[in-house]
Symmetry: C2
Subunit: 357 residues, 2 copies
């Protein structure tokens, strides 16, 4: 049976003050009425029911996650004691799935990405599942056709086409984040895809692959995994999870395995990396502005202006700004200065204003 | 006896969103812990007691004015039915003063100016009162020595020095707001002063002068004035005040009277015309920023950033901005775009958000 495993424990400062430590990006309604996590769950409709949907988060975000996803059984909202990158996360989820379904197929996906249209996403998942059904060893990545020479993503190079209804390919190479000109050559080549961090595989196969390529990771996961469903689980998890080497599932397994293949994703995909990027996704008015909430602007261009609730934000004669008002904190920033935003958050912490972070 | 008459009915948009229709600039703590009006009253200490201090405002601001000035007897907080510039305002106040004190000397002053040090102000008032005591016809203006070639003020040209302890002079000419080069020549001439809108004269003399130069204004004021202290006053005021021609006391009387003279003001004076001007008054840090309240900035220069209460405002990588947060509205504006701010306020009104104005 197909299960969805949503990785939702991330944190960051790029959407401060909208995002907070215990309510990061994926728990925020950045684009639309519901949070990115809720949109990710909604996208699974007709594909994976709530009783086979799993979320992996951390202790600080667990309560809000449960509140946002009332249809997901609480025992399927798993918490990591600490973040150890995606390989331990995926392995832990695999052990949980196998405890209830020895033939579980996992659709692994991040909680904080925007994907449209949902139908194209679901079609891609069906193709991936078909590839796994046809060969149980396969580890399937979703490859997004690049629309610009992005330098912030890893690229996957496709090889031979795989038999079947959808667009499946062998994978011949992984490429780290490229510089601008290299990214341009990738686009020109036409056989490279963005690695969007969405995967499909059998739970038993990913654990086998981990055991083969990362025995240190696999052995600790097995110790924890054998306690799933027993009273010893919490203690086992708390005592050992932080000893697992932090490694991505890409580096740990996918780049090394001959069974890695890809499905060409025919959907628009965004990882929503910054306020600026969000504006590009949401679109702009004729002045280049993206306005959300009770906002009034005059003589202003290329700004993202957002207000929550009923607070009125007015902008006059400004450009290239991000202006975000929340109940207890407001940001005014040059929209390209992501490094500055990180330092602002540090400064606020140094000032003892952790309550606003 | 010396009475103070504080003209406090002004309104404007230049300090939105801090200032509001019923709580304009003079009722706001723009510079310091108390409002500009409260600072104006405090400046009168040792000079004019509360029982001889009068405030002229309008109906919308009356309640807040009374709340801010609990020591001023409520019957001395007068309300104009509508604004008719300063000549009717001064004349109305003169009638009230004469009803209790036939020898009243009026110190007329705006509510929304910053003056320092207060002692120098009080010394100037004593000089003005001495000039009036020595010649009851005198109409005394306060002339501020220009510190820069300002184009936003009217200038007064001094003539012969007057006998007495302080720096009193005849007035030979009034000059409208000059262009930049003319203003420069005024500074070079050394005999011009900014007209700061502070005056001293006998109440009976200013009414005589109004009767001589502006009989239309004087006759309506007399109709109202004769009802002061009677049950007919309110009706008389409401029925006739708006028929008075709107005219400044400068144009109506001072520019025409041979009795106009000036006291050289030896205090620093600011009319606090904009957020930008306020920053110059309050001073800036080494980055050129003026920060008030819980504000944190990174890589930002020449900004005025102000937050009320406990709301945190963060700024990153911005310059030449005014950022003002209040409970229900926030402004982000280029600090030189005062015209844009006016249009923003118009836009907000068009959008039916009068509750924020």
């Amino acid at each position: 049976m197909l299960h969805a495993v949503i990785m939702s424990g991330g944190s960051g400062t790029r959407f401060w003050p909208q995002s907070r430590r215990n309510r990061p990006k994926q728990l925020q309604p950045l684009a639309g009425e519901t949070s990115l996590l809720q949109q990710t769950v909604a996208r699974l409709q007709e594909l994976v029911p709530p009783e086979r949907t799993w979320v992996i988060t951390n202790a600080g975000q667990a309560e809000e996650t449960r509140n946002q996803l009332p249809t997901i059984p609480v025992q399927q909202i798993l918490t990591e004691p600490c973040g150890r990158n995606t390989a331990p996360c995926v392995g832990l989820a695999a052990w949980h799935l196998l405890a209830t379904d020895p033939d579980a197929v996992m659709l692994v996906l991040p909680a904080d990405h925007l994907i449209n249209p949902p139908d194209a996403f679901r079609q891609g998942v069906r193709t991936a599942v078909e590839l796994v059904d046809n060969d149980s060893r396969r580890l399937v990545l979703f490859g997004v056709t690049p629309t610009r020479p992005a330098t912030g993503y890893g690229y996957i190079q496709r090889g031979e086409s795989l038999p079947g209804a959808g667009h499946g390919y062998q994978v011949t190479a992984f490429h780290e984040k490229p510089d601008r000109s290299t990214a341009g050559s990738y686009i020109a080549a036409g056989d490279r895809y963005w690695n969007c961090g969405i995967f499909t595989w059998r739970a038993d196969q990913i654990l086998d692959a981990l055991a083969q390529h990362e025995p240190d990771i696999a052995s600790v996961l097995e110790t924890i995994g054998r306690t799933v469903g027993t009273p010893d689980y919490d203690t086992s998890l708390q005592d050992t999870f932080d000893s697992i080497p932090a490694r991505s599932i890409d580096h740990a397994v996918l780049e090394r395995s001959p069974d890695t293949c890809l499905v060409e994703a025919s959907f628009a995909w965004h990882d929503v990396g910054s306020w600026h990027a969000l504006a590009e996704i949401l679109g702009t008015d004729s002045d280049g502005n993206t306005l959300q909430g009770p906002v009034t602007v005059v003589d202003s261009n290329n700004c993202v202006v957002r207000s929550n609730g009923d607070h009125l934000v007015g902008a006059v004669g400004v450009e290239n700004l991000v202006i975000v008002h929340t109940d207890d904190a407001t940001l005014v920033a040059h929209r390209d200065d992501e490094e500055g935003l990180r330092r602002l958050v540090e400064r606020i912490q140094e000032q003892g204003r952790d309550d606003r972070l």
